[in-house]
């Protein structure tokens, strides 16, 4: 691989930031940068970190959105029924953990390929949510009642993201378990014959990833103060995109935390920047699609010439 290929993603990010800074007066203001971090970056970063963990272990998780949703569902329903915030958070952990356990059983236990196993989980999760909400009716909390838990989560969301970044980063690069799952991801057969319990490890990874996604679910539903069925699925494609964009930043083309964060930042900057440039709302998706396509093309073409 060409040594320059790695810098396609950060270079694109810098060019885009410069472009938006020059074309709009508000992009490089503190208020806007904060809005990018809080509104665009936080939830997608959590979902993408979960994805990064699974992709590092050689899998893929199509049910990150499902874990986000199940956590949000449990969290909001318990609060709605008058449960204590601590209980609601416990419920969210259980909701997301259930998704993770189900995936772990399928992938670690039955040895199903992750793509298909999590696709099944995604479908089943859709039914569960539709049945729980009578076909997709959002659950709102009664307005007016003060909810200090929402304010607390809102205020600490970036700390939660930071915690997840450090946690996943340390796990993947500086722990024995991390080395093992990366080995299992790169060469499952070699790892297996070297005594690594590959399937049990990926099972644990699925649970951990679902729990991280569950944090995203709590953050999301705290900020909108409601639960909208299947809203977590909206993060799935972006999380995959950010993670795989991030692989271009690795010398070996692997998923990595720094690359994923650059990918999430790129997606967030594109969304926010296009909004500010006043490009027609309807053209924004095309424009962001084209930008992502170009970054991919740049990274993969330069990688090949190495």
């Amino acid at each position: 691989m060409s040594a320059y290929a790695r810098f396609g993603l950060p270079a694109a990010l810098i060019v885009l930031i410069a472009l938006f800074a020059l074309t709009t007066p508000t992009f490089l203001t503190l208020a806007n940068l904060k809005s990018i971090a809080v509104n665009h970056f936080a939830i997608l970063a959590l979902a993408s970190l979960a994805m990064t963990l699974v992709v590092s272990a050689g899998g893929i998780d199509l049910s990150v959105g499902t874990a986000i949703d199940m956590a949000a569902l449990a969290y909001i329903v318990i609060l709605q029924q008058g449960g204590a915030p601590a209980l609601a958070i416990l419920g969210a952990v259980a909701g997301a953990g259930l998704v993770g356990l189900f995936n772990a059983g399928l992938i670690g236990g039955l040895a199903l390929p992750p793509f298909l196993a999590t696709l099944g989980t995604l479908f089943i999760g859709q039914s569960v949510q539709q049945l729980a909400t009578n076909g997709g009716v959002p659950i709102y909390l009664i307005a007016g009642a003060p909810r200090p838990i929402f304010a607390l989560i809102d205020a600490s969301r970036l700390w939660l993201v930071g915690l997840a970044i450090v946690g996943v980063g340390a796990l993947l690069t500086a722990s024995v378990f991390g080395r093992r799952i990366v080995a299992g991801g790169v060469g499952p057969a070699v790892a297996f014959y070297s005594g690594v319990p590959v399937r049990r490890d990926i099972g644990k990874v699925m649970i951990l990833a679902a729990l991280i996604a569950g944090v995203a679910g709590v953050v999301l539903s705290s900020s909108v103060r409601s639960y909208a069925p299947l809203s977590g699925n909206g993060y799935l494609m972006d999380a995959i995109g950010a993670t795989f964009l991030g692989t271009t930043f690795s010398r070996w083309g692997r998923a990595n935390v720094a690359g994923t964060l650059l990918g999430v930042l790129l997606l967030s900057v594109v969304k926010n920047g296009l909004l500010l440039t006043g490009v027609s709302f309807y053209w924004q998706q095309v424009a962001s699609g084209v930008v992502i396509f170009l970054v991919l093309a740049l990274s993969f073409v330069s990688r090949r010439e190495g």
């Binding site: 390929p113 089943i124 095309v286 093309a297």
Partner: protein, 321 residues
């Protein structure tokens, strides 16, 4: 291929057929109207769109190999259908004739396929990512065209497509049968079809044997683009126009293409298998409606089906263990 594997494959295929039959019998007993010819023809009509998309995806998977990330996959089929339906509806609404709309749809579908082909074969972006990015662009274009609203359209061709043809059989049912009858032998029996399978099964061996590997892989995305555009035209006829949300069919298409694997003799993706799988999903949806079970269960049952099927497919499991 070893004997036990063959026996297992045969048993599995038998199991899949039995599951198919069991579901038909169960619905027939529970809903008196289920086995009526009219209803079965309805199912055929309703399966046409899913079937065409599943054929496209199957062709891509055959040419690219089974690995989901690095092998062949086309995540842009559903978005392509949405764009095609939107183009058709918009052109008709502005008063242009059907012929122009058909040409524009097919051209757009081919263009999307060509973009995928370039991304995968020239730029060498992994197909999962390349087609995901293209899907985003394409559904963005649909968004631009329709402003995210319903565009109604009626035209002679659309009414004809949505209506019954000869022998009171829906035209879309004919369309599905016709495309199946063309695509099946084209992929399973013609020299180009067999070469496509060789390219997907072992790319290096195919290249060493002198096959134009890149052309075949690129071609598979063009076919998929074209079939998605055709599905878009059918969708415009079925819904008398275009409506947002077509990208939600993507996962069903993936399911149909995967389920198709168990309906095939050697547990490989085939057109015949994809056709059966599309019908199977169509029957399931229709049966649930007739016996008045909430449609909320449908995706859960589909999910359980995928898991069941994959759990039983040794070829898929060997990849991991």
């Amino acid at each position: 291929m070893s004997k036990p594997r063959n026996r297992l494959a045969a048993a599995l295929r038998l199991g899949a057929y039995l599951a198919f039959a069991a579901i038909v019998v169960a619905f027939a007993l529970a809903a008196p109207g289920f086995l009526k010819l009219g209803n079965l023809l309805n199912v055929l009509q309703q399966s046409a769109i899913l079937g065409l998309l599943a054929f496209g995806l199957t062709v891509v998977v055959i040419g690219g190999g089974g690995d989901v990330v690095t092998g062949g996959i086309d995540l842009s089929v559903a978005a392509n259908l949405g764009l095609s339906a939107a183009i058709y509806a918009t052109i008709i609404q502005r008063g242009y004739p059907d012929a122009l709309a058909v040409v524009a749809c097919l051209a757009a579908g081919l263009a999307v396929g060509a973009l995928n082909a370039v991304a995968v074969t020239v730029l060498r972006i992994v197909p999962l990512l390349a087609t995901l990015a293209v899907a985003n662009i394409v559904s963005g274009l649909e968004f631009v065209l329709t402003q995210n609203s319903v565009v109604t359209a009626s035209s002679p061709l659309l009414s004809w497509l949505a209506d019954n043809g000869p022998l009171a059989i829906p035209v879309m049912a004919y369309a599905l049968i016709l495309v199946t009858l063309i695509a099946w032998p084209a992929v399973q029996a013609t020299p180009s079809g067999l070469r496509l399978q060789a390219v997907g099964a072992h790319r290096e061996a195919a290249r060493a044997a002198g096959l134009p590997v890149t052309a075949y892989v690129a071609g598979s995305y063009l076919v998929s683009g074209l079939l998605s555009a055709l599905a878009g035209i059918l969708s415009a006829a079925y819904l008398t126009g275009s409506s947002p949300g077509s990208s939600e069919t993507l996962l069903s298409v993936v399911v149909a293409a995967l389920l198709g694997v168990v309906f095939s003799p050697r547990l490989t993706p085939t057109i015949g298998g994809a056709a059966l799988a599309a019908l199977f999903i169509g029957l399931l949806n229709n049966g649930f409606q007739l016996v008045n079970i909430s449609s909320y269960w449908v995706s859960g049952v589909e999910g359980a089906l995928i898991l069941f099927v994959v759990a039983c497919t040794p070829a898929q499991r060997e990849a991991l263990s």
